[in-house]
Amino acid sequence: MLFNSVIFITVFLPAALFGWYTLQKLRNPVWARLFLTGMSLVFYGYYNISYLWVLLASLCWNYMLSAALQTGAAPNVRKSLLAIGITGNLGMLFYFKYFNFFLENCNFFLHTDIRLEEIALPLGISFFSFQQISYLIERYHKRAKHYHFLDYSCFISFFPQLVAGPIVLHNEFLPQLVDRKNRKLNRDLFYDGVCLFILGLSKKVLLADVLAVIVNAEYENILYLDIPSAWITIICYMLELYFDFSGYCDMARGLGLMFGFSLPENFNSPLTADSVRDFWRRWHMTLSRFLSTYIYIPLGGNRKGKARQCVNLLIVFLVSGLWHGANWTFIVWGVMHGLACVWDSLFPHLRFRFQWMNRLATGIFVTLSFSIFRSDSLQSAWLLWKKLFAGGMNGMFLGLCNVLQIPETYIIQKALKYLFPQALNPFFVMCLVILLFISILLIRGKKAHQWLEDNGQKPSAIFCLATLFTWSLISLSQVSTFLYFNF
């Protein structure tokens, strides 16, 4: 089930909210938690019922290890248990996500002919695996207690964050779950949640999905791109990815608030970052936090000299690249970001005098690197880069703009086609310019929750939210998926 689907908005969400708050009125909170866990499993199983077994197996495995990691056990036993736990999680992740990639590379480099298996990637496996690894490590360090199985299941499977994050830590969720005051509907939180959900939905449906029309069409035809169309394509992809994922996270946080939970922020205007390190402090913040807490710092962070710090940074970004997917494109993308962070760390003062130039340079680097991230293979990424810098001019730019035939402008397109056919191309160019202008305005503007804090009480803003929701709702007939589901 997608957040941006009719079934979710009109049936699943109202039913889940109604059940949750009705059962919270019972003296025993177990029923409400059982219901929420059940609904989360329905949400997850709706994609593909067979995924459910993977989630349940992972839940049970980690819960058993948590139980075994009792504080009384000997240190070496605890260490072994942690190693077994992490190996189990990574092993499952390796099998479902990387096994075929591994075999493909064995076949390629060792000239073997091992048959690939058909392995369906369970949605969100990277998210819930990392979340549980984090829990196990916290248990090992005695910074987390062993919770009731129902509470633990509720935490891991909580549907707003289950398939694409944010990666929530146990101490951010479970205290809220057991807090008595959270058992009553908090209307302030609920209203904020609804508004945040609407803003996230609009970002996804009205912006990301429109940008995707261009990106998908042009990535299918890289061979025919010229310099301007190649640049517009990668810029549109960067914007699409941002609105897609940050829209999803806004929806997730909004849903969390509707249920009375505050989930961590995942984005902080990342496309206004003035260095790559700054970018990673603002983009997918909960992943950066995980990698920093559980890989970078244990490796020594910046405490063991510059050289070691650089190696640590490279390792972290290599893992980040691999986490995003089993393809060399992700690895190259990760290494690029790692090298950029190493550069930032080695030459922190080597910067442009004007801040806007630093932002522009960072934006260009990030956009270029994400063009590899989007490519199917390194060959197509290389072809795209050739087009970016030596693609010449073949008029493909107008073809790109013509892809933007969205229903909202249909009647204008038809009128122009019959009355002023020569104005049709300039019209499509104008549509693209408006789309990019709105995107840039939103990137530079206030964050969704800040905008709500400042304007959420004004009738004009409420009207705007009602309009955005309705507009998004009528756009749902063209169902789309979220880009981050498969990571």
Binding site: Y191, I411, G456, T470, W471, S475, L476, S477, Q478
Partner: protein, 351 residues
């Protein structure tokens, strides 16, 4: 009352207002005619075959139907109304599938008493599955149910609001796809030998005739479905028109080793239809002047609206009618014409 509670109520009220406005707007225009026929004084605009078909069958007023595939869409059904004194609705399925068209006919007969069925019968469609294919994943289910509970994707649909309704209004104002020209797609199409040849490439080697294992069974089942329909409704007059595909179609059948299969279908179909007293069959495939002149076509089978009109006029005049007495002779002359096409006529266009 808590301030945010008020805001939440205001948000719900405004959203509700928008949703009610959209429901009213879509219900009023109802481009797929799911809820009502056009209101008094307004003309139906039929331009979106698969989406509009179920609604028009259910909600329009008519006593005759013109059934067929895409080659039947360019008929001017008002000619039938004037000639036979009836009120005709076009019932079209692009594939010409007998099972699908019979499904539509059953739907029509739920609430309508039919006098005439004019069926432009594609013989090749008799060699397709006899299962109804209307529940394909690409066709929305809500079109086929009477319940409004599943109409959400129709009512709250950006494409319906921003594309289908404006297009309907514009077509109504410009008189496109109105009256007898429902679903007519001929505007802006290029009917020419050059255009037709663009869709045809003759293989270098001619394939030996081969046996289609499914042919006999499928033809038999589809003809049985037709029999059941005709026998079940003796009060309806059925008029079948066998449309004239271009000589490219015949040549294609020859070079792909399928010519005998086509004649098999013809030999099975004609007597099967003619045995019913309430059936008339009009045969246009051996109109040499039409099928050998590729300027009448845009591809192998799709002909210009003039040919549609030719067929209607000849049917009205009783020409081209075949009977139990002459159908074998007609097939014989069609065989001769097919020979002439594949040995001589085709080389006028295909060197």
């Amino acid at each position: 009352m808590n301030k945010k509670t008020k805001q939440l109520k205001l948000l719900a009220a405004m959203t509700g207002g928008w949703l009610i406005f959209i429901i009213a707007f879509v219900w009023l225009f109802d481009p797929f005619y799911q809820y009502h026929a056009p209101f008094w004084g307004l003309e139906a605009v039929l331009y979106d075959r698969d989406n509009q078909m179920p609604g028009t069958i259910r909600n329009f007023s008519y006593d005759s139907v013109l059934v067929g595939s895409s080659v039947a869409e360019n008929f001017d059904s008002s000619y039938l109304d004037d000639t036979y004194g009836c009120n005709t609705l076009k019932v079209i399925r692009a594939s010409g599938s007998v099972a699908d068209l019979l499904y539509y006919l059953d739907m029509a007969q739920e609430d309508h008493v039919l006098k005439n069925v004019f069926w432009c019968l594609d013989l090749f469609a008799l060699n397709t599955s006899s299962e109804v294919t209307l529940y394909d994943k690409d066709i929305p289910r809500y079109l086929y149910t009477k319940s409004w509970l599943d109409d959400f994707p129709y009512v709250f649909n950006k494409e319906v609001i921003f594309v289908k309704i404006p297009l309907m209004v514009v077509n109504a104002l410009r008189g496109i796809n109105t009256g007898g020209h429902a679903y007519d797609w001929s505007a802006d199409k290029n009917f020419s030998a050059e255009g037709a040849m663009r869709f045809y490439s003759r293989p270098e080697e001619i394939i030996e005739p081969w046996e289609d294992q499914e042919l006999e069974g499928q033809v038999k089942t589809n003809l049985a479905l037709l029999d059941r329909q005709i026998e079940g409704h003796p009060e309806i007059q059925y008029r079948f028109l066998i449309p004239p595909y271009s000589m490219l179609w015949w040549d294609s059948a020859y070079v792909n080793g399928m010519l005998e299969q086509d004649f098999y279908i013809l030999e099975q179909t004609l007597p099967s239809l003619l045995k019913h007293p309430n059936t008339e069959v009009y045969y246009f495939q051996k109109e040499e002047n039409i099928i050998c002149d590729l300027d009448n076509y845009m591809d192998m089978i799709h002909y210009s609206p003039e040919i549609n009109q030719f067929m209607l006029e000849h049917m009205a005049a009783g020409d081209n009618r075949i009977t139990e007495d002459n159908w074998e002779n007609i097939i014989g002359s069609m065989r001769q014409l097919a020979d002439k096409i594949t040995q001589k006529e085709i080389y006028r266009y295909y060197k």
